[in-house]
Amino acid sequence: MRNSKVVTLEEAVKRSGLKDGMTISFHHHFRGGDKVVNLVVDKLAEMGFKNLKLAASSLSDVHKPLIEHIKNGVITGISTSGLRGELADAISHGLLNEPVIFRSHGGRGSAIADGELKIDVAFLGASACDELGNACGVPRSENAKSICGSLGYALPDARYAKHVVVITDDLVAYPNLPAGIRGADVESVVVVESVGDSSKISAGAIRDSKNPRDILLAKQAAKVVINSGYFQDGFSIQTGTGGASLAVVKYIREEMLNRGIKASFALGGITAHMVKLHEEGLIGRLIDVQSFDKVAAESIAKDPSHVEVSSVEYASGVHTGSATHALDIVILSALEVDTQFNVNVLVGSDGIIRGAIGGHQDTAADSALSIIVCPLLRGRIPCVVPKVTTLITPGKSVDVVVTEYGIAVNPARPEIAEKLKAAGLHLVDIKELAAKATAIIGTPDPLPFGDKVVGVVMNRDGSVLDKIYNVK
């Protein structure tokens, strides 16, 4: 067609004016199935680029080829929500000279919108795109090869990056509308064999648990929700990706049916569980920054009340219209919680980076009620500790911690403690939980941290919360 933006990847890179030292960006909607990051960075390496800064919404196991690109000086800086697998391990051991900048999803969105994180060229994978760059994460033709659902994390990049390249595996006829990524923001369109393996969207953090302890935790968390005072007709809810926090939805559903209560919206990473409740008429709207599984991705493709939002609209702490400001209840998991209710979801108890901030900071801070669900111990690793290895979500944002040894309520929320106590729930002091863990496992030896800063954890307002040191 006239004015087609379709070019080869190499031509798109040349056209973008990318130079050594600039910042390139990516989204992670294909999660463990992502092919765009490796494809593009391989090409940039081949074209001879050096010293690039990679601003991803998140990175996972599948991105371990970046290790070689870091060793060769192609990538010299990273910002992301999380890191997993061999790449995370290598970075924890000091692979990168510049510390990785970790931001929450809302924090990344507002950093891009406010110009703190400047993106020179965004390379954004899409399941369908027309020749003018209108792009989305859902199939729009019979030839569609992939589906990832919401493109929420890519939308700030599309809007604010200086130059935007859409990479698609299905070029469709104009007009590909409605589309989250608008052609007016896009400079080039590149067609490739595959942008991602959709079967791996729900791999990684998300699993559906049959573990009896997870089920016990989920039941306890559901009781907290139901008796918290916020479980009223028109309430809103978000759940994280841990096995227990997903299972909570099942028990809340039963009580919604019993009492005839409906939710106005569910937010966040949307899962098949939430889609089911929505389709049963128990949840009015699904506000979706990221589709956590194929069922959710297919739902957003066909259901007008399942809506795509950008990470700014989802969870920005500085843009007051973001959805988290309307959120009543959030159920989250944790690697560690400490006796000040601080939470770590990023760095393992061995000091190795193995997770992602995600929307943890954002939803805990803005919701009316934040519930952390975690076991007291995972094997010999304590989850309730005197002090978190790395501070991700400050304790003042955390209201209730649910463990299999009892429920701890933040002393800043006495009214919630009263309601839960009246409902007959077993409340304990969080210090007792930490002491119980120590009694079972002993006191851990200090971690072998070195003195090189390998990561910096940002708060959602752009301030520094904590630093991560290398592991020897």
Binding site: L377, G379, D445, L447, P448
Partner: protein, 89 residues
């Protein structure tokens, strides 16, 4: 003493192999070595000493087992290695 094994490589378990040795030698691989390696070795040695085993070579592959599990696996491996049934005696 013959070579004997107890335990599995499941998360939360420890696989203990005991065979002939001079004095008590413990080779430990553990997913929580940095924080708990010292404690785990101490539990293994205490358990063997409690059973009267003075010479053994122990190889342990730990996946985050608690002390009670470690004691149970070491005891079972020692009983199999020595033929001395500590539960009966």
């Amino acid at each position: 003493m013959k070579n004997s094994i107890a335990g599995t490589l499941e998360s939360g378990d420890i696989m203990v192999t005991i065979g002939p040795g001079e004095g008590l030698q413990v080779d430990l691989q553990s997913s929580v070595a940095a924080q708990f390696g010292r404690q785990i070795k101490a539990v293994i040695i205490q358990t063997l000493e409690g059973l009267g085993v003075k010479d053994a070579h122990v190889q342990a592959v730990d996946k985050g087992a608690l002390d009670c599990t470690i004691r149970a696996r070491v005891t079972a491996a020692a009983v199999r290695a020595t033929g001395k049934d500590v539960w009966k005696d």
